[in-house]
């Protein structure tokens, strides 16, 4: 047995204050590695099936009947929305499950809480890890869109950063909700059915929000998916938006992200102190 050094010399609290979140990232990545094959197959199969069905199938119908949407091929129009949807879905999985697990099923957040890692660092670490998984998934998604000919110019790849913004702002927010939810299981079934689904359907994903009746458009305005999709369409093929709307979209996403982080930090601190 090596002679005792003691925590006074061993543990560098200042360093943990700066870098503690990365220990949380590390444990998340270790956990991902346990189901890497599943993770990889989902990342590839999901966009592939989607693009075959919607992008190519429906796209062909639309392209031949009306010569595309918004002046471009249907798949080009659709790509930023599909990537953003995948980002949101992925962020949700990688943020909600670890949170429910950490507080309830596994209680490993309580184990972390007994170490110098702070509640904020747990939030930040889980989110950073989730976003690296999102980055991986949307990059694969982008590559498959490219193979299907969805990116007519190199600007198409800009849908990757915009979809990351969707994942991050939604993820930051839903994480706090997951920490706040008391009755987790039913709660997330409700979120899945009545929040995610409408968000997906009414955010101008498959057609422009302006074609939607006005009394349904508010769903899109609230949804990070619509804001990112608009930005993505603007950046990837020059879909028209005003300068004011451009700023507004970015502002909305930034605000949602910041508010989400603050909300999550508070919820985590509150729940860990119980």
């Amino acid at each position: 047995m090596a002679p005792r050094i003691g925590s006074l010399l061993l543990v560098d609290t200042e360093r943990i204050k700066r870098r503690g979140a990365f220990a949380v990232v590390e444990v998340r990545v270790m956990t991902y590695m346990k189901y890497l094959p599943a993770l990889l197959s989902v990342a590839i199969a999901n966009p592939f099936l989607y693009l075959l069905a919607v992008g190519v199938g429906v796209g062909k119908l639309i392209n031949t009947h009306s010569g595309g949407v918004d002046g471009v091929k249907y798949l080009t129009f659709l790509a930023p929305a599909l990537l953003a949807t995948a980002a949101i879905q992925n962020a949700m999985d990688e943020v909600v499950f670890p949170t429910l697990e950490g507080f309830k099923w596994n209680k490993n957040f309580f184990a972390m809480n007994a170490t110098p890692i702070s509640a904020k660092q747990i939030v930040n670490g889980v989110l950073i890890a989730a976003m690296s998984r999102v980055l991986f998934s949307v990059t694969v998604y982008g590559a498959i869109v490219y193979l299907f000919g969805g990116f007519t110019t190199a600007r198409g790849w800009l849908s990757i950063p915009t979809s990351l913004a969707a994942g991050a702002s939604f993820g930051a927010f839903i994480m706090g909700i997951a920490a706040w939810a008391k009755n987790d299981d039913t709660f997330f079934m409700v979120v899945g059915r009545f929040v995610m689904m409408p968000l997906f359907l009414f955010s101008g994903t498959f057609y422009q929000l302006s074609t939607m009746p006005i009394y349904l458009r508010w769903i899109g305005w609230l949804s990070p998916l619509w804001h990112t999709t608009e930005l993505g369409r603007f950046l990837t093929y020059g879909h028209h938006i005003s300068a004011m709307m451009f700023v507004f979209h970015i502002g909305y996403l930034a605000l949602m992200f910041t508010a989400g982080i603050i909300f999550s930090h508070r919820q985590f601190a509150r729940r860990l102190a119980k």
């Binding site: 005792r4 943990i16 697990e101 309580f110 170490t115 119980k274």
Partner: protein, 310 residues
């Protein structure tokens, strides 16, 4: 020990959960290198007090300082030097035994170079070398407990806090733990222990605090408690479960104090044999009798009206 610096100090410490007061204004001090035990029946407030010290639960009122710092302001600074074994294991079920030790070291910002040999040492201590690559969910209850204890040692903490550490451990594992705790104590580590086993309290603790319903009932060394709260010896007699209660009033007049338990009566006296002789002279012949020295169990019974393990 008395001249060592004070590492933990609580003054008028209160914790309420809603209307319920779990810790009701307690004061105590723990000095460096001491091993300090909390004894008390279920619900006494031991774990609550431990969690406040561990900076994972906020107090309602009163003052507490750990390593000279307020846990509400300096949580991470305090936690950096604590090793915490909670009452219920909270291992990471998704990871293996070895990975659990590794990642816990990472939470303390330790380098991989330091953690690697440390894992070997701790696996050996926890007798989990063969289980190193097994997922935690596949361990037995006692193995999980051993891993939780080993995990708390990764960072070589100044203060080791063990909330009922040996519950669920077999005798061999208990003795390995005791041995390790003795060695840590020799190296100057401060120990905080809660337990329901009086032999453990007697063996491990320099000083004990007996709690009940959130308050401190007594505080002293194990020997001091026995001296102050019990007689030198105890005579245990059985008259059969239906007769015990009938005879009790008669016995009460013959000694300092008696305790009527469901299966036996405890009679407190400085000379147990003499008392037994006296019983015989009065024509009282118990079915079985036993004279023994007073133990912490007797102190506990006196102070809380309950047996230690309930």
């Amino acid at each position: 020990m008395a001249n060592q610096e004070i590492l933990i100090e609580a003054k008028a410490l209160v914790k309420r959960y809603g209307d319920f007061t779990a810790v009701n204004g307690i004061d105590f001090q723990v000095r460096k290198g001491e091993s300090f035990g909390f004894l008390g029946p279920n619900g006494a407030g031991k774990s609550t007090t431990m969690r406040i010290i561990a900076a994972t639960l906020t107090r309602t009122s009163g003052d507490i300082s750990i390593l000279g710092k307020d846990p509400e302001k300096f949580g991470p600074e305090i936690k950096a030097h604590l090793g915490v074994v909670p009452q219920t294991d909270n291992l990471d079920n998704a990871l293996t035994v070895e990975e659990n030790l590794y990642i816990y070291g990472r939470y303390f910002g330790l380098s991989k170079r330091f953690i690697k040999p440390k894992i070997e040492e701790l696996l050996d201590f926890a007798q989990l070398v063969e289980k190193r690559d097994v997922k935690v969910e596949a361990l037995s209850g006692g193995m999980k407990r051993r891993l939780t204890i080993a995990r708390a040692l990764v960072s070589e903490p100044e203060i080791l806090m063990l909330d009922e550490p040996t519950t669920g451990l077999d005798p061999q594992a208990r003795h390995i733990l005791w041995d390790r705790l003795f060695r840590l104590k020799e190296q100057g580590v401060t120990l905080l222990i809660t337990t329901h086993y009086m032999d453990e309290a007697e063996q491990l603790c320099d000083r004990l605090m007996v709690m009940d319903k959130g308050s401190i009932m007594a505080e002293d060394s194990p020997a001091g408690l026995i001296k102050n709260y019990s007689t030198k010896e105890v005579l245990e007699v059985r008259f059969g479960s239906d007769r015990n209660a009938v005879i009790a009033p008669q016995l009460k007049e013959m000694c300092d104090r008696i305790e009527v338990l469901p299966d036996r009566i405890l009679m407190y006296a400085d000379d147990g044999e003499a008392l037994l002789h006296e019983l015989g002279q009065k024509g009282l012949h118990p079915l079985t009798s036993l004279v023994r020295r007073s133990s912490l169990e007797d102190v506990f019974l006196r102070l809380t009206g309950r047996t230690l393990i309930d």
